[in-house]
């Protein structure tokens, strides 16, 4: 049997081109080259498969030219006629992770070629793509390569050979897709078994874990809103013009805190949005549309609220991991509390 053909996708960093300063490197196809993490995959493939080409693309380039980059890469992949496509692993690099996910999804859906990628569980790409493609969990840094490469390579061989794919537990990828199989016992009998275990207080495993939505119980009402200090916060990316803290346009790695003492409205000459996930024209024209400082000032003047807090907190919700968002909010909630804020209006886009 001839060797399976593999195309591998990596970013500028793992290709040895450079770090953040080289993240705008355009996509390029390197036929016949095995680069960086490809070496580890190659070692695991043995004689069964070969990397016939490596595609390298800068993370910023991909994020900012998504449609163009995807189209270009898909064209290259198609030419190489691979049996399987591998991206990454991306570890905890957010933009690299989402790029791996996006390109894998495109290759799978447009070319019908099986795909696999890998990344750290908290990489935002994991949540975004684990229900669409096979994503293997890795450590949060490149030190995890020696563990990840053999697992991904072995699974890629299975995909390439069109073998039957088992559950996430059997194969090791992140749980995300429901896979049917025939159980030993019929459903009613399994239900009775589960019921007996539940009655006896013994451990049992539900066959369908219900999604848990993070429902927040409302706080008690504010007794006298006319005396309350109210803060504005947003995931809509409103920042002072020029984005002084460089909040990322997607997968934000930070939040900003900005003083609005004396600011009566957010005007286009002083504020803008850093958000890369919606058409920014209307937000940039009048940032009040996302963070309504003007209306709050009116209410303040009319005596309908006590006052508007003199700082606002902002980040970009676009693809930002829930875990990160939680972390930011938990942090600035403490600051709000310390400043004696009674209530927060959180706007989204």
């Amino acid at each position: 049997m001839s060797k399976l053909r593999v195309v591998h996708y990596i970013n500028q960093f793992f290709a040895g081109i450079g770090g953040e300063e080289k993240a705008d490197t355009p996509a390029e196809l390197r036929v016949g080259e095995v680069i960086g993490p490809g070496m580890a995959l190659k070692a695991s493939f043995g004689e069964e498969a070969e990397i016939v080409a490596t595609i390298v693309c800068g993370d910023s380039y991909f994020a900012e030219n998504m449609d163009k980059a995807k189209e270009q890469i898909i064209g290259w992949v198609k030419e190489q006629k691979p049996d399987v496509f591998i991206a990454g692993p991306a570890f905890n690099a957010g933009r690299y992770g989402t790029a791996c996910g996006a390109i894998c999804e495109a290759v799978q859906n447009k070319l019908n070629i099986p795909v696999v990628t890998g990344m750290y569980i908290e990489n935002p790409g994991a949540d975004m793509y684990k229900n669409k493609i096979y994503v293997f969990p890795t450590k949060d840094s490149a030190a995890g390569m020696k563990d990840a490469a053999p697992l991904m390579a072995k699974f890629a061989l299975k995909l390439g050979k069109k073998e039957k794919i088992g559950s996430s537990k059997e194969e090791g990828f992140m749980p995300g897709k429901r896979i049917n199989f025939f159980a030993e016992k019929r459903g009613s009998e399994r239900a009775v078994d589960m019921l007996l275990a539940k009655i006896a207080g013994k451990p049992f495993e539900t066959e369908y874990p219900m999604p848990e939505f993070d429902k927040v119980a409302p706080n008690p009402e504010i007794k006298d809103i006319t005396k309350a200090t109210i803060a504005l916060c947003t995931s809509g990316g409103i920042v002072p013009k020029g984005n002084p803290d460089h909040i990322e346009s997607s997968n934000a790695l930070k939040y900003g805190e900005y003083d609005i003492t004396g600011v009566m409205e957010l005007t286009s000459d002083k504020y803008e949005t850093a958000h890369g996930g919606y058409d920014p024209v209307y937000a940039n024209e009048r940032p009040d549309r996302v963070l309504p400082v003007d209306v709050m000032r009116d209410l303040e003047k009319e005596g309908k609220i006590g006052k508007l807090h003199n700082k606002f907190y902002t980040t970009v919700g676009n693809g930002t991991a829930v875990a990160s968002a939680k972390k930011y909010a938990a942090e600035y909630a403490q600051k709000l509390k310390a400043d004696g804020v009674d209530a927060v209006i959180m706007t989204s886009t």
């Binding site: 229900n131 669409k132 559950s167 996430s168 537990k169 749980p175 995300g176 897709k177 429901r178 896979i179 049917n180 199989f181 025939f182 159980a183 030993e184 016992k185 019929r186 459903g187 009613s188 009998e189 399994r190 239900a191 009775v192 589960m194 019921l195 007996l196 539940k198 009655i199 049992f204 539900t206 066959e207 369908y208 874990p209 219900m210 999604p211 848990e212 939505f213």
Partner: protein
């Protein structure tokens, strides 16, 4: 009170000049069955055929599957309130023609589904591929309204199943099985110390081809009520035919309700199976609130420790399932849910339209959106002219080579939410 089921194993079905069961072979004379069907002036004709396990045969569009049974002792009838008298059923002796079914088929609406393959990959997904099937394809008189057609097919199926069942009246059963039930007081005394377990059985009740009947009553008009678990064995609950073949229970499944059967197996040993509670899945939201309130109240009044709750259907019933689950759990009664999933073709979407963390013990009958390819089979009983229009099919379902690419939701009984099958799903 006891119900004894006498199982007569049917080993073959043949057509002949005289209907009879002898040495396990069912001989069917077509004429009396055709006459029975045509008692209803809405039916123009019925075509009878036989489909056996392993044959290269596809039956479609399947409307219902019914097991022939016959009362041999007890002052009650099979299919009480439907074609039998409305007397209470579930006691005495009943003969069961095992290993076979009456399958009804007909094109009630143009997007109808319901496939039973007797061979190949499709056969693995339907429990009815393992049975000897006497298939009745009904043609309506011209211009008949769908409501009337549905009702005519429904009743004709029961009459034919009863006719076949009665052939077993004087046949000695190969095996028998006895189910004993008792009243509340006796039950409390006899099984003292065992956990009190109930079955909350949700019945599809939304409209044409989404209905279920209990002693002849449309289930959308009931308040949740109590049954002896043996009543279903005499056909107390029947199907009003279907549009969602994978997870609407055919009458056969009601008559062999697997949750009732499997709870009975533990009854008196590990549990006290003391209540079969039926409820509905109406479209009107206040009805859902009322029914789930009553269901939870009944569980509480009966001092149950735990219940199994089974769903029937997609979407709307998910809301009833979660209401029943949460209200019962909040009364301190443990629940196990049985459902199926619509997680999309790639399995990556949310499975249910509603969810709650209290539903922490859930059995699934699999993702109904899974796509499979059914091979071309030699013979079709019914008609294939609508296959491109069945749920889970698309305009390319019927491929040039005669194979059909389809979601398993088109297969009769594929994702039974009373747990009749072995299909399940995992991450």
């Amino acid at each position: 009170m006891k119900l004894e089921l006498g199982y007569i194993q049917i080993k073959d079905i043949v057509f002949g000049n005289e209907s009879k069961i002898s040495n396990g072979v069912l001989t069917v004379d077509k004429a009396p069955i055709e006459a029975l069907a045509k008692e209803d002036e809405r039916i123009k004709s019925v075509t009878l055929d036989i489909a056996k396990p392993g044959e290269s045969v596809r039956i479609t569009p399947v409307k219902d599957v019914i097991e022939p049974r016959c009362k041999v002792e007890g002052d009650c009838d099979i299919f009480p309130g439907t074609i039998g008298s409305v007397k209470m059923a579930g006691f005495g002796k009943t003969h069961v023609c095992k290993g076979m079914a009456v399958v009804t088929a007909g094109k009630i609406v143009g997007f109808q589904e319901g496939i039973i393959d007797m061979q190949g990959p499709g056969a693995d997904y339907t429990p009815f591929s393992k049975l000897l099937n006497l298939v009745c394809v009904f043609e309506p008189v011209d211009g008949l309204k769908q409501h009337d057609y549905e009702e005519a097919v429904r009743f004709a199926g029961f009459k034919i199943a009863k006719y076949i069942g009665e052939l077993s009246k004087d046949v000695k059963p190969d095996t028998t099985e006895t189910f004993e039930v008792c009243n509340f007081k006796e039950n409390m005394e006899k099984f003292k110390g065992l956990p009190r377990v109930g079955y909350v059985h949700m019945l599809q009740s939304q409209g044409l081809l989404h209905d279920t009947y209990v002693y002849g009553v449309d289930a959308k008009k009931i308040l949740p009520t109590l049954m002896y678990p043996t009543e279903v064995f005499d056909g107390a609950i029947v199907s009003g035919n279907c549009v969602s073949a994978c997870d609407k229970n055919p009458t056969y499944v009601h008559m062999n309700n697997p949750v009732v059967v499997d709870l009975f197996k533990q009854h008196g040993k590990t549990i006290n199976f003391c209540a079969h509670i039926i409820t509905n899945e109406n479209v009107y939201l206040a009805d859902k609130q009322r029914s789930s309130n009553f269901t939870a109240k009944l569980c509480e009044m009966l001092a149950l420790d735990a219940v199994i709750i089974t769903e029937e259907g997609f979407g709307n019933p998910d809301a009833d399932l979660i209401m029943n689950c949460t209200k019962i759990e909040k009364k301190g009664i443990k629940t196990v849910l049985v459902t199926d999933e619509y997680a999309g073709r790639d399995g990556g979407s949310q499975s249910l339209a509603d969810a709650d963390p209290l539903g922490n013990a859930c059995v699934t009958a699999g993702n109904a959106n899974e796509v499979i390819v059914l091979p071309k089979l030699d013979k079709v009983i019914g008609t294939l002219d609508y296959v491109n229009k069945i749920a889970g099919g698309n305009e390319n379902s019927m491929r040039a080579d005669g194979t059909i690419e389809i979601e398993i939701q088109a297969i009769t009984g594929a994702t039974s939410e009373v747990g009749f099958g072995k299909l399940t799903a995992t991450y």
